[in-house]
């Protein structure tokens, strides 16, 4: 069984981004970029399925700038077998990425695609569901446990109020939640090995996909900042403030 793992290059989760003064976006020049953390969880899950003998090949795919090669190399250092870069400088929105991934799936015929549930830059939480819709496959989103048997995936997923387990036919799309696994750190030898793994580059036009954005960003602004509060000395003072100043208890 082949597993496809889409990976996105995003601003590192430790960076607090700044909005540009002209309102055209956020300033990401010279900030640290990393693989989207949820995608790391996806790579880890796929590699574990391969190590368990369930999967035979793990293919990482990234859509975006040439620099996304680094993200693919990071996935290969974790254990993905090869990488596919759908290279473009164009702004890619989730629907466009889903269409690109659908085209890659048509070619690669994976049985399972493991996406991150959301990217921590646009916080959209859409691509996996959209890919599943376009491919006519089932989706098991926000997964905290995945097992594969008899042409089906059994997926425990995080829902409002608790968890549920779905049984979905393969091929299917799974999206990862935080508790699915703890991704490994790539070792130096594996980082070196990853440099020699195959990395293929294609363009959206080669895949016959129109990636034109459907949403225009009119402006990006700073959210309202909270006013600095005050420190209280003890519990008595805190209770007094909450009762008599804030009037919330």
């Amino acid at each position: 069984m082949k597993i496809l793992v889409p990976v996105k290059r995003v601003v590192d989760y430790n960076v607090k981004v700044r909005v540009k003064a002209d309102g055209s976006g956020v300033d990401i020049a010279n900030v640290k970029m990393s693989m989207n953390p949820f995608d790391e969880i996806g790579v880890e899950e796929a590699v574990r399925l391969k190590e368990a003998g369930v999967a035979t090949e793990v293919v990482a795919v990234s859509c975006g700038l040439a620099a996304s090669q680094e993200t693919l190399r990071a996935a290969m250092a974790m254990g993905a077998d090869r990488g596919i870069l759908v290279e473009t400088d164009a702004e890619l929105q989730p629907l466009a990425v889903a269409k690109l991934l659908k085209a890659v799936c048509d070619k690669e015929q994976p049985q399972l695609v493991i996406c991150g549930k959301q990217a921590i830059d646009d916080d959209a939480n859409q691509t996996g569901q959209m890919l599943a819709a376009l491919a006519g496959w089932p989706q098991a989103t926000f997964a905290s446990k995945v097992s594969i048997a008899d042409g089906k995936a059994s997926v425990m997923r995080e829902i409002d109020g608790g968890v549920e387990t779905l049984s979905v036919t393969l091929p299917a799309v799974v999206t990862t939640d935080l508790r699915l696994n703890e991704p490994r750190y790539a070792t130096l030898p594996n980082i070196m090995k990853a440099k020699k793994k195959p990395l293929e580059t294609v363009k959206p036009a080669d895949l016959g996909v129109d990636v034109a954005p459907r949403l225009a960003t009119l402006k990006v602004s700073e959210p309202a900042q909270r006013k600095a509060g005050e420190m209280v000395a003890d519990v008595a003072q805190l209770v007094d403030k909450l009762k008599n100043v804030a009037k919330v208890i």
């Binding site: 959301q118 959209m130 995080e158 779905l166 949403l215 805190l238 209770v239």
Partner: protein, 310 residues
């Protein structure tokens, strides 16, 4: 054209998130319809007719909607979409699961977690864990949207909508629900609670988490929330997680106990009216958003606070 709100429910009762979604729909200008897709969900349809501002309730009652799987419900919504300018769902796990699937079937963008409506085609949504707000304009014929419930007033009661039953779409048979384990709780829902007591890694264990926070929450009639670290460590169930990738809340009072205040946590609670932070580290970032900060050992402060509240 009319606006379709996909109701969130468990076949027995309508979830409060639906009311906020109707609240957002009311700002778009157009007749508001609510879709209740489920199995044996007649009472939910009935409840939806009473929401103020709803003109029509579409009920689709069939066995294959029992679990409300995204595959089957999205197929149904695709068939209904022709008559609508907007399709809205709450930005809850259920809505986030479903809405992108609907959008892709219609070949339109999906606009996630809006916090304001600027115009019927222009919306504001947080990006980068709420560190920036993007104003986006959609060029698509149908706008498929999820709504951050804390950003919109809940629609009131007093409606008298008509009920129309709609035929089911085919059962795609792609997915089956095996089991569902819901945490039973007498406490208010996190999303709707007026007061939230949230615990972090500082609590140190599940016993401490519950032993210290529950008496305080009981006194305040509060819901209990948590940081990711507390959930990951198994102190409490996953659905307590507040943050960028958990629940977004905006209660009147949020008491953060032993929570450091990582960007990802702040994204889920910084719109609370009053924030209290209890932490032993005076430099913890949570103090930068707190209205009232108390530096101290939570094992001493929390029981004292519980005792001091009448």
């Amino acid at each position: 054209m009319a606006i379709l709100v996909i109701a969130e429910h468990d076949n027995q009762s309508l979830k409060a998130a639906t009311l906020n979604t109707v609240g957002a729909a009311a700002q778009l200008g157009g007749e508001v319809h609510v879709l209740v897709a489920g199995a044996g969900c007649g009472a939910v349809g009935e409840a939806a007719t009473k929401i103020a501002g709803v003109a029509k309730v579409l009920v689709c009652d069939a066995p294959h909607y029992e679990a409300q799987g995204a595959e089957n419900v999205a197929e149904l919504v695709k068939g209904l979409a022709g008559g609508y300018s907007h399709i809205l769902a709450a930005a809850t796990p259920a809505g986030k699961n479903m809405a992108p699937r609907v959008a892709a079937l219609l070949d339109v963008a999906q606009i996630s977690e809006i916090v304001a409506v600027e115009a019927p085609d222009t919306f504001v949504r947080p990006i980068y864990a709420g560190n920036a707000l993007a104003t986006v304009k959609s060029a698509d014929a149908v706008k498929v949207i999820t709504v951050r419930t804390t950003a919109f007033e809940a629609a009131g009661e007093g409606g008298a909508a008509a009920v129309e039953s709609v035929p089911a779409a085919a059962d795609l048979g792609l997915s089956a629900l095996v089991s569902r384990e819901l945490v039973k709780s007498e406490r208010p829902e996190l999303g709707a609670a007026k007061v939230i007591v949230a615990g972090g890694r500082g609590l140190g264990s599940a016993e401490n988490f519950h032993g210290l926070l529950e008496p305080l929450a009981d006194k305040l009639g509060a819901a209990i929330g948590a940081s990711r670290a507390a959930v990951d460590a198994g102190y409490c169930p996953n659905d307590y997680q507040v943050g960028q990738t958990g629940k977004v809340v905006a209660p009147q009072l949020y008491i953060a106990v032993g929570v450091s205040g990582a960007i990802q946590h702040l994204a889920g609670m910084k719109d609370s009216k009053v924030i209290v932070a209890i932490n032993k580290d005076p430099d913890a970032p949570i103090f930068q958003v707190a209205d009232y900060g108390l530096v101290g050992d939570l094992f001493q402060v929390v029981p004292e606070l519980t005792a001091a509240i009448g």
